[in-house]
Amino acid sequence: MNFDYSEEHQQLKREVRRFLERRCPPTAVRAMLDDPKGTFDRRLWGDIAGLGWLGAAIPERFGGSDLGYIELCAIAEELGRAIAPVPIASSLYFFAEALLLAGSEAQQAKWLPRIADGTAIGCFASSEGPGQIIRPRTVVASGRLEGVKIPVTDGHIADVAVVLACESNAPGLFLVELDQNGVEREHLESLDDSRGLAQLRFSGARAEPLGEGGAGMALADRVLIRAAALLAFEQLGGADRCLEMARDHALQRHAFGRPVGGHQAIKHRLADMYVKNELARSNAYYGGWALATDSSELPVAAAAARLAACEAFGFAAKENIHVHGGMGFTWESDAHLYFRRARHLSLVAREPAYWSDSLVTALVRAPVGP
């Protein structure tokens, strides 16, 4: 039985954590919120790329280190813990995964090395408004893209996007460079401006097909599943950090003559956070395992990991504020940075209700697990 990080993985995690404690303290995240043009720590991104971490799950022939998905999971967990203001999810979990799934050799050779060394940022553009996208209104004709994608996480800072659009009435994925005429980008205000959102307006932008035409919805689902498994680790890292913050505060803050953590109302709240975090950790490992082994259980595992992670981080982030009392409600407290990120991460790859539904659909097809 070997269902946990190995010693090498733990070594990597410690390394990433030490680096981020130095380079990405909460003040670095806060700077993004204080600066209206913020959303992205370019120097931090460059340093992370320089350490080779962006290429963990990218094959060596495309400039990656091909360490593996568990390594990427470990890195994601630490980035989540530090709520790092970098476009890791857009560029790796969505864009790189879409390319690895559906890209031609030439498309992979062109983009993956730049994704791995951080010189290009990718993003994934599917949403066109509130709710689920049934059929994209964005269209491609004669290699030209027309339509509006809103919102697109990191769309304002990305160099290239994978766009879900219809060609001859069939949804497909398309690769679109964003630094060209016919692309208009607007950074939009959002709940978490340390991971910014944008609107992308396409009017005749060049777009090349990614993967089989007409398979867009199925491909987008597969990308989403892989992103969900990876996002769960970021969420887990954030949830763990919230519990630590709440625990530290409960020990240090005194009321009624003793640390507030000595009162059962607080104790039990912390225990509830711990329980959800451990369930999230175990489900995240399940998702990581399924991703790394390309298991047929991936649709179930990723959905379970995603649901447990959304539940844990959402709960830990809100209860962390509550345990901090009035202080937790101030701008100066770091608690709201996590509260914002928890909400952001729980919606960037479809909301929990979607995953509940897709988990049951997958179980009806093949009941696996407990």
């Binding site: 070997n2 953590g261 104790k267 039990h268 225990a271 509830d272 950790r281 399940y286």
Partner: protein, 405 residues
């Protein structure tokens, strides 16, 4: 990250599979037993066969009749054993909780006397701790032990004693000194359940069944040689016993994913079945995530054992999550059937009535072996390092504590 056995573990599993395949079919399984007594006899026989083969307590040293193996080997054996129709469950309290206490606190002759018969299933143990007025606050127990010469006399009442009606021996925690604060006035003994003055009465539970007992102790005479640990040190001894309890208590209970699917499909809803109802799907997904979380948490614990590390505190969530999940799940699966969900008989009830048994059992599961609240205290204090609750009874002599009546 994988679920694979190491080469050593795979070899051990093969050996266990071979032995089980040859031996398990020779023994009657629970499905073949018609009475509780038959079940017990079959369990004793199976335990004896395991002991003879060194599988009774794999991680115990050989000198005690164990297998001299590792914790992960024990886990592998249990996993493989569960695939067979074999009666289990009578010896967990003895081998998992009472005997480790005997091995730590009794004299060598006593250890020698009890270990073998317990391993072979010849003698069964129970644990006489809880009382009507001492559940979560166990150290507030009142069964009174008075010493005269070399003999103690114990009078009091114990409750929720699993297996007392078939147990041969028991661990008894009693109050030896009410003039000191409660934790300091306790003493631990082992007793013969057939001794004069020990009377066992089954408890009629809200489920209709009787898995537990009340045990009345009326002037039970206990030689001082049956004391475990020093007089007044009973709480320390009890902690050793209890430390092992929660390790044993987090097994799965309730319907499988497939069974939940079957129940949902059997309930018409709109133009389809309950399985098409989005509110139901949300709840079903939540139950699945909890069950998967528990399953893979166990895998993490096994991984630590496999790596010869001490498992982390994550296993402490097991019973807390499992009991609450069972309560919600059985409640919802009954409710979604409407009035028909009230039927409990095997002819009509979903899953032959097991769902209703779970529904009635779940409230007890949330209390047994540490209530939700005690378990949350344990997580907060021992895992997260929160200070203990403030207590009004810490420095007060037990006899001066208010009792509420």
């Amino acid at each position: 990250m994988d679920f694979n056995d190491s080469p050593d573990e795979a070899e051990f599993r093969e050996r266990v599979r071979g032995w089980l395949a040859a031996n398990a079919p020779l023994h009657a399984g629970p499905s073949e037993c018609t009475s509780a007594d038959q079940r017990l006899q079959a369990a004793r026989a199976w335990q004896g066969a395991k002991a003879a083969a060194g599988f009774a307590r794999i991680s115990w040293p050989r000198e005690w009749g164990g297998g001299g193996g590792t914790a992960i080997q024990q886990a592998i054996f249990s996993e493989e054993e569960a695939r067979h129709d074999i009666p289990l469950g009578f010896f967990g309290i003895g081998l998992g909780m009472c005997l480790p206490t005997i091995l730590k606190f009794a004299d060598p002759d006593t250890q020698q006397r009890f270990v073998g018969p317990a391993l072979r299933g010849e003698e069964i143990w129970c644990q006489l701790f809880s009382e009507p007025a001492a559940g979560s606050d166990l150290a507030g127990l009142r069964a009174r032990a008075v010493k005269a010469g070399d003999t103690w006399t114990v009078t009091g009442q114990k409750v929720w004693t699993t297996g007392a009606h078939y147990a041969d021996y028991g661990l008894l925690l009693a109050r030896s000194d009410p003039s000191v604060p409660k934790h300091r006035g306790l003493t631990m003994f082992w007793i013969d359940m057939k001794a004069p003055g020990v009377e066992v009465r089954p408890i009629h539970q809200m489920t209709g069944g009787s898995d537990f007992n009340e045990v009345y102790l009326t002037e039970v005479r206990i030689p001082d040689s049956q004391r475990l640990g020093e007089a007044g040190d009973g709480w320390k001894v009890a902690l050793v016993t209890l430390m092992n309890e929660r390790v044993e208590g987090a097994k799965d209970r309730g319907p499988t994913t497939q069974q939940i699917l079957d129940v949902a499909r059997s309930v018409p809803h709109g133009s389809g079945t309950m399985l098409d109802d989005s509110a139901f799907r949300q709840r079903f997904a939540a139950w699945y995530v909890q069950a998967a979380g528990l399953k893979y948490t166990r895998m993490r614990t096994l991984t630590a054992l496999s790596r010869r590390q001490t498992p982390g505190p994550e296993s402490s969530i097991g019973k807390l999550v499992a009991a609450n999940r069972l309560q919600e799940l059985s409640n919802e699966l009954i409710e979604c059937q409407g009035e028909f969900g009230l039927l409990t008989g095997p002819r009509h009830a979903a899953l032959s009535g097991s769902l209703h048994r779970d529904y009635l059992y779940a409230p007890g599961l949330r209390i047994a072996g540490g209530t939700d609240e005690i378990l949350k205290n344990i997580i907060a204090e021992r895992v997260l390092g929160m200070p203990p609750d403030s207590r009004a009874d810490k420095t007060v002599a037990f006899k001066d504590l208010p009792t509420g009546r």
